[in-house]
Symmetry: C2
């Protein structure tokens, strides 16, 4: 199967008329996008490599989902509405069942977000997936990393740390009861980009980022670009580990230190961490309700630079938690 047949069979979706947002899709030198008047185009790009970003044994349908999800998560973090994406795919061989499953996972998520495949490139090589995603946001309304101000609340969406917990199981460093493992694995392999929440937070949040490298590291980007510091309530963040809720009485969970490692520095969460003034708490909760996405308050932005981690009793945690690359 050559390149053109491969594209034709798995990635051309016949019978779909050109849309207003993508007047020309796959098949010419370029695709044409038509963002709405008065909008800016938000663009992000991620490359996933076998062995580094996913295991060779991953279900290709889940991989198709995740490859797009991590990109949609970047659109979510700036409050953009998804429009389209390009896909560059390097494949060691044209494995038809693999391609069919990959395309199924990819397009299921794309369709759920009205995000169209607009073009791409396929080539033979070590398995690599590079997606560039395009969204639109009303001019001047994008959520940036730089807008956090002293006094703002610090919020996180959904759950944190479970993806890393699953990875540690795959690595043989932790064992979990099957039901806990399956739930954690779902978070690792089928993350949920918070696209609706991101859009609902426009005009409400002062800054936002998506958690891909780990809470502390990604929060650090917000603090640096905002010229601010923060205090993080680690007991509140620890409650964001979904496995704790699934485990009756904590049974089968790893020790508390590893749980906290996963939550603070696990990565691969694709949740939003965002800030908003305290007088916007009702608006934040309304955005969360409108997008059916749970949110939790986990700390506060402060003028003093640096990130301070407090335990349940309000005491500072020891220094080793301060670094985002705790696992490095």
């Amino acid at each position: 199967m050559g390149e053109f047949e491969l594209i034709d069979r798995f990635f051309l979706r016949r019978g779909r008329p050109p849309s207003a947002q993508v007047p020309l899709g796959v098949g010419d030198d370029c695709a044409l996008l038509a963002p709405s008047p008065g909008h800016e185009l938000a663009v992000s790009c991620d490359m996933l490599l076998e062995g580094r970003h996913f295991l060779s044994t991953v279900d290709p349908e889940r991989l198709g989902h995740k490859a797009l999800a991590v990109n949609l998560s970047d659109l979510a973090a700036c409050g953009a509405r998804p429009l389209a994406f390009t896909l560059a795919l390097a494949l060691p061989a044209a494995d038809e069942p693999w391609l069919a499953a990959f395309a199924r996972g990819l397009f299921a998520l794309a369709d759920a977000h009205g995000c169209e495949l607009a073009g791409g490139d396929t080539t033979r090589g070590p398995l690599a997936i590079c997606i560039t995603v395009f969204g639109e946001v009303p001019r001047g309304q994008a959520l940036l990393r730089s807008g956090a101000r002293a006094g703002d609340d610090l919020w996180a969406s959904g759950t944190l740390g479970d993806a890393r917990l699953a990875l540690e199981v795959f690595r043989g460093k932790v064992s979990l009861p099957p039901s806990l493992f399956e739930a954690a694995r779902e978070r690792l392999e089928r993350p949920t980009p918070r696209v609706a929440l991101g859009q609902a937070l426009r005009g409400v949040a002062s800054a936002a980022i998506d958690v891909s490298d780990g809470l502390l590291g990604d929060l650090g980007h917000v603090l640096r670009r905002s010229g601010a510091g923060a205090t993080l309530d680690t007991s509140a963040t620890l409650e964001l580990l979904a496995a704790r809720r699934h485990a009756a009485g904590g049974e089968g969970l790893p020790d508390a230190r590893l749980q906290l490692d996963c939550v603070l520095a696990g990565g691969d969460d694709y949740e939003l961490v965002f800030t908003a003034p305290p007088d916007r708490r009702a608006a934040v909760q309304a955005a969360a309700a409108a997008s059916a996405t749970p949110v939790s308050r986990i700390g506060r932005i402060e003028a003093e630079p640096g990130l301070r981690l407090l335990d349940a009793d309000g005491r500072a945690l020891p220094g080793q938690y301060r670094s985002w690359d705790h696992f490095a």
Copy 2:
């Protein structure tokens, strides 16, 4: 050197204020692009892998040039003005001299075309370069592959076949005198995207494509999408091999058959092949002059499907030339 330091040192260009077309560049979850009102955004994406698209010994400065050039060539083929690009880079190691040279070649070409790096991703892995490029074109004016009509002239820009000739020298199948080899190698390693010509041809050309896979194959895409056929004057196309002009009396050139193979099916040319009605010949020549790009008439579009290759005496060439994947 970590990912962030690498981006910071080689790909962040400090002191450059946000532009009107890229109000937010590298450093947030997304970049923001602001295409001009009344324009569509043209998007294309190419992935280059070591060993498949370039040799491991290639000069990294030339590789930086070429990685962007092949993408700009797609913008040229639809008549778009370059705005910005994203770069995803997988690197086996953070080799500083390599990165500095790669960035130098990349940004020299980007700056020549006013095309800004808007975002990207870096990761460790087998050397792979994935660029997605964005341009703008007035709504409805993009040059498409589908617009060729019976009676149209068939044109090519610049020169064809020399990139492949150089590749055959690298492969040890051909030898060339040093001066011819250097000229051909320049075409392979530093192709010239015909960006100004593409824009000048808006409203003049009826269809266009850039030659990346080889003249016959890429022309085939135009014919299929236009529902038309063509006759190609192979003696005119043979004259487009620049090596023939450099070689006094043909000295040092490979045999005529290999020359024709390179011109018709060589690939990696990044010239434009386009069509226009015969009554627009003066307009085509004016576009060529305005963009300082030579163009040559190489055939004619016909209603009868298929591609007919004629020799200098107007006789049909034997069948083996009819296939675009002659080298496959």
